[in-house]
């Protein structure tokens, strides 16, 4: 058995919807059937084998090679298996993913990990705006699972995030953790303005003090024992967050505008 590999062979002008190409969907399908799967791109439906060279047979281990930022909805709703992507990914990477693993060796576009409820998304690169945020109409962004981004992330990281762990090793844009409901976001780098805007619950863990708006208020310097538990839970994750072992933090809480009890913890 070798990894089921889709090597992109065209340069699509319109975004291509890859949601049918998940381990769950492809399990047990003969090659001819996979080749004939239709993928939306603009008004057209393209056969999978006109978009990709397809090789390999292990649908539980999918590789997307030569990938580009027009390939959307990779791993949409996936429940099992693994997808590795070499090159960039489009938007909605791992949308509503329930379990399994996505590893991206490249950058992702907007709304990565939106609605994620389990599993791991590991992005070796940068991501666009609305990482782990809710899509229009939804009340919850990421709902569980783990996301690790080695690079930078855009604006509105974790908007309405409900649960789970989101770790960004680089910098993030403005409105990080906006309307956050719960869960944990960690950012190693710098954070843009209006962090925690509308935050209701949850933890935003930082290493640098950002500019904070007036309804996020200082609660002082503390040694918080729960951080030991948290860092212990990071210890086997492939991220530099695993090496943190401090639990002394400046604690800011809010957003008071929304009766919020979220916290921004800045490691000392």
């Amino acid at each position: 058995m070798s990894a089921l590999t889709f090597t992109l062979k065209i340069q699509p002008r319109q975004r291509v919807d890859l949601s049918p190409l998940t381990p769950d969907n492809l399990a047990g399908k003969p090659a001819a059937e996979i080749a004939a799967i239709e993928l939306y791109s603009g008004k057209q439906k393209l056969r999978a084998d006109t978009v990709f060279d397809i090789a390999g047979d292990d649908a539980s281990n999918i590789v997307i090679a030569n990938s580009c930022n027009k390939l959307d909805f990779i791993g949409h709703g996936m429940k099992t298996g693994r997808i590795s992507i070499h090159g960039n990914a489009g938007s909605y990477l791992g949308l509503q993913m329930r379990n399994g693993e996505i590893v991206l060796h490249g950058d992702a576009d907007a709304f990565a990990a939106s609605g994620l409820s389990g599993g791991l998304i590991h992005i070796h690169g940068n991501v666009g705006d609305f990482l782990a945020a809710a899509i229009a109409g939804d009340k919850q962004g990421m709902k569980g699972g783990t996301v690790i981004v080695t690079g930078n992330a855009g604006e509105r990281v974790g908007d309405q995030m409900r649960r789970g762990l989101l770790l960004v090793e680089g910098n993030v844009g403005s409105y990080c953790a906006s309307r956050m409901l719960a869960g944990t976001i960690g950012v190693f780098g710098a954070v843009g303005e209006y962090a925690g805007y509308g935050m209701r619950h949850g933890t935003l863990l930082l290493t640098q003090t950002p500019a904070l708006h007036a309804t996020i208020q200082d609660c002082g310097l503390h040694t918080l024992p729960f951080l030991s538990l948290m860092f212990k839970s990071f210890s086997n994750l492939p991220t530099k967050f695993a090496k943190i072992n401090k639990n002394r933090v400046q604690r800011y809480a809010g957003d008071l505008a929304n009766d919020g009890k979220g916290e921004i913890l800045v490691l000392q």
Binding site: A110, E155, Y175, G198, A257, N258, D259
Partner: protein
């Protein structure tokens, strides 16, 4: 009763019930005069309505690649462009309800994506509606109930000139209120014209200025204070926290406050979060007293386009029919993103009210269906002039408040086709081409 409620053609006549679509207020008390096809606003005019109605009547021909063409050829060419595109974008959408009905049908057949020229503004409200909802009222409620009007980040009048005249300083109100005693507070913005907020008795409005880009913080602070929180900061974006506290106290004491904003004026990134804080504080006020939000919009038919789009597809614009069923993606279907990414491969721009709203520059095949007086910087592949709703033909338009819709009248004879006629013809041409 059976006769039409819409005034018929009014050549060389005065009318006292003309609806003005030049802004979302849709004032329908204008007196206009038609002299050989040129309209003069005789009474109840404002800068916007005068500009709108008094443009000289023009009757340009359709053009294909800059050359005069007959309407049929222009329609056929447009259909070809749509047919050959894999992701056509129909945007601008400066039209009223009937024009939008036709566009929805064409978009379905053409697999098009839809956006409106004002969507960058309207989306700030739509996203709030879709996330938390809100508590708002309509213009007649404002006119008869408001006792404290808080205006966030705008003077209102530059976009909606007659707002104070018709809705705040009206002489009589249903419930015997002394309208001149109404309080007005401007929150945020710098150097805005607050004189319309001076009461007939000469009482100055409250003014709490700040940079527009700092409104997210100021509005959040007001929301927190209305919720009974104590803030550590003494000064928020240049406004003393004590002054904000006083405003919060007045809101809590008011019997029917109205908090107005114009999404167009909240022109900073992620402004929907600020709008959500405004509506959130209105909801909070309604725990004990009455208060309503007042989102002001409706210019260039944006509310009309969204209403029609929603009842036909389920979604406001930034929706798409490319997959044969409607999809909605307010992020990716934005005109700028569609063009910048080169994903849209044909552009159809519609602006039937306003010749000054021009299409974005683009490198893809483009069609402009526009106001007769439009002067285009770059010549599109096809230009089709259409009549102006409310002047050249009838129409139906939704007001700022999203509830009231008014008939637009035909005020003069015109040889120009209406947008819906042109769009329907394009759809029929496309249907024929698809059948081949």
């Amino acid at each position: 009763m059976e006769k039409s409620a819409q005034p018929a053609s009014m050549d060389n006549a005065l009318s006292g019930t003309v609806t003005c679509p030049a802004c979302g207020l849709l004032c329908d008390d204008l007196v206009v005069e038609n002299t050989d096809g040129n309209i003069k606003v005789r009474q109840k005019g404002c800068a916007k309505s005068v500009t709108f109605f008094e443009r000289p009547q023009q009757n340009p021909s359709p053009r294909i690649a800059g050359k005069t063409a007959d309407l049929q050829s222009a329609i056929k060419k447009t259909a070809e462009i749509l047919r050959n595109a894999n992701q056509p974008l129909i945007t601008g959408l400066g039209t009223e309800a009937h024009g939008m009905r036709a566009i929805m049908s064409l978009a379905d057949r053409a697999g098009a994506t839809l956006d409106h020229m004002n969507s960058n503004s309207t989306i700030r409200n739509t996203l709030v509606l879709q996330n938390s909802g809100w508590q708002v009222c309509t213009l007649t409620e404002v006119r008869n109930r408001v006792d404290l009007l808080v205006i966030v980040g705008t003077d209102i009048v530059s976009l909606f000139p007659r707002f104070f005249e018709r809705h705040v300083w009206n002489e009589q109100s249903m419930f015997g209120q002394d309208t001149a005693a109404r309080e007005v507070v401007y929150l945020g913005g710098r150097d805005i014209d607050t004189t319309p907020g001076i009461s007939p008795k000469g009482v100055q409005p409250g003014i709490l200025p700040c940079d527009i880009a700092r409104l997210p913080e100021v509005v959040a602070a007001l929301h927190a204070l209305v919720s009974g929180k104590k803030l550590l900061a003494e000064n928020i974006a240049g406004i003393a926290t004590g002054d904000l506290q006083k405003l919060a106290d007045r809101l809590l004491a008011a019997k029917y406050s109205v908090i107005a904003w114009s999404a167009a004026a909240l022109d900073f990134p992620h402004a929907e979060l600020t709008v959500q804080n405004i509506t959130g504080l209105v909801v909070k006020l309604n725990n004990t007293t009455r208060s309503s939000g007042l989102p002001l919009g409706g210019n260039e038919g944006d509310i009309s386009a969204n209403q029609v789009s929603t009842w036909i597809s389920g979604y406001p614009v930034r929706n798409s029919f490319m997959r044969t069923y409607p999809e909605y993606d307010p992020y990716h279907f934005a005109t700028a993103r569609q063009l910048d990414s080169n994903e849209a491969d044909a552009l159809l721009w519609v602006s039937s009210f306003n010749p000054e709203r021009l299409p974005p520059s683009c490198k893809v095949p483009s069609v402009v269906i526009g106001h007769a007086n439009m002067t285009l910087a770059a010549e599109p592949d096809v230009f089709i002039p259409v009549g102006t709703p409310g002047i050249d033909h009838k129409g139906t338009m939704f007001r700022s408040d999203n509830v009231v819709s008014l008939p637009l009248a035909k005020l003069r004879e015109s040889t120009l086709a209406s947008l819906s006629e042109v769009i329907t013809a394009i759809e029929n041409a496309l249907k024929e081409q698809q059948a081949c």
